[in-house]
Amino acid sequence: MNLAVREALRAFQRAPMLSLLSITTIAFSLFAFGLFGLVYLNLRDALAQVEERVEIRGFVAEGTSAEATSAAVGDIAAFPEVASVRYVSDVQALERARRELGEFEDVFEAGILPASIEVRLREGQRDPESVRSVARRLEFYDFIDDIRYGEEWVEKLYKIRNIATAVGLSLGVIFAIVAIIIIGSTIRMAVLARSREIHIMRLVGATNGFIRAPFLVEGFLKGVLGGLLALVLTYFTFEFVGQYVVEATYFGSGLAVLGVLAGALIGLLGSAVSVGRHLRRV
């Protein structure tokens, strides 16, 4: 094994740039996974918070009787998805608007904001689908003029999360494939360059496992180095974002170790596939 490690290090010397490139590519692969994994994690948290504040607001037509609205409030409260329902009169609405939009105070005059029924949903029922379905059911009340809900925002966040996941996954997979190709090619060339040596090893009684070992060690080392580099990269990116953009959650040491292992796996895989295929031909 000692010999295998020595031979693997020799290989680094022989193709330093290509080895570096393999390591960097593995690192980028894991970095892409890691970065978009972090985006996913943080967006998931953000979504949970935003969803908490999701509310459906039905504007009540002027001159609707108090009985009609309170009957509706009771009905709506009975929907399985609904957590709470609240009636906001036009006076309350104006007050709230003044409070919240103080800046534009002069714009709001009495009577321009209508009364509304405001509905909050239970946890787990706040996805765009459920929100839309409750909103549709509110439309059945004749006296409800217009319905608003933060639909664009929720949908946007969901979209961002999905895009981030897809981009992260595909970038990661692409880089992983490129890494495997580079490693595989490096080893293909190393096997070609060392074919004479390999042939001689065979002739003096070396087993296939013995011949294969340095290549596997080489791939494994590259993978581990790539994984560590990826960890460093994500950490600095994360720190940078935390400082200049938003506070975010980092992943735990368990996931970090998993990342390095994933690198080792990519490295081993690239080596194993290539060395298996090429040794047969030498």
Binding site: N2, L3, R196, E197, H199, I200, M201, R202, L203, V204, G205, A206, T207, N208, F210
Partner: protein
């Protein structure tokens, strides 16, 4: 030790390199293999160290048959042989010393046993002073002696030497030949392919003569064969010799 039974070898290109060759070499025997260029001498040696498989017939080496030998059993068999290749086959980027040590590392010899063994065998072939030279820093004859040292260092059961003195002058040839005789005296069988008829004539060993793939002369058929023990399995002690 080595038995060829009606062995033929056809390479994909060209005619038959071996054509119905049968002979056997006993344990501890010393055998010359002669014949003109292209006669099939190297091919016979390649069949013994299983670089090639026979197209027809059977080759038995140390109790193993070419018919049943699996690919994964080949390394184990080779560890019990020492081979001097006609074209040396040294590793270009390793010193003489490292080339010899390499043959020991490959078979898992403990690290601290390697140094002394290598030094001893390099001295035997007269290259103690060139231990740290790379192959391209050696003369042709010196490279050949490194190849011989590598074949000897394992204390093999059988030594296969393909033209081991082709690049050596008369005096060096006599030295190497003496070395092979010493090895043989310790019980190692030697099968040596050579063009050097002077050496062949000067030594009373058995001679196999090849021509165009056929065995045309075997001096042993003139005097009685030694105790026939060629087919008995040999205890596998070659990995921890001495």
């Amino acid at each position: 030790m080595i038995r060829f039974t009606h062995v033929s070898k056809l390479y994909p290109k060209g005619g038959p390199a071996l054509d119905d060759v049968s002979f056997h070499v006993n344990r501890g025997e010393f055998v010359f293999l002669t014949g003109p260029s292209g006669a099939g001498k190297s091919t016979i040696l390649k069949l013994v160290y299983v670089d090639q498989r026979p197209s027809q017939g059977e080759v038995r080496i140390a109790g193993q048959s070419s018919v049943t030998l699996t690919g994964s059993a080949v390394p184990k068999l080779r560890r019990r042989l020492g081979v001097v290749f006609q074209d040396f086959r040294l590793l270009e980027d390793r010193t003489a010393e490292q080339n010899v040590a390499f043959a020991l590392e490959v078979i898992g010899t403990p690290q601290d046993a390697i140094g002394p063994k290598v030094a001893r065998v390099l001295t035997q072939v007269g290259l103690a002073g060139k231990a740290t030279a790379l192959p391209h820093e050696l003369s042709g004859g010196e490279q050949q002696r490194v190849a011989i040292a590598r074949a000897l260092v394992n204390d093999p059961l059988v030594l296969l030497a393909d033209e081991p003195t082709g690049n050596l002058d008369d005096r060096a040839t006599r030295g190497i030949f003496q070395l092979l005789r010493d090895i043989n005296a310790t019980g190692t069988a030697v099968l040596m392919a050579t063009h050097d008829l002077a050496t062949v004539r000067a030594n009373p060993y058995r001679t196999l003569e090849m021509n165009r793939g056929k065995l045309v002369y075997d001096s042993a058929s003139e005097h009685p064969a030694a105790a026939d023990e060629f087919d008995a399995p040999v205890p596998d002690a070659s990995e921890t010799p001495q």
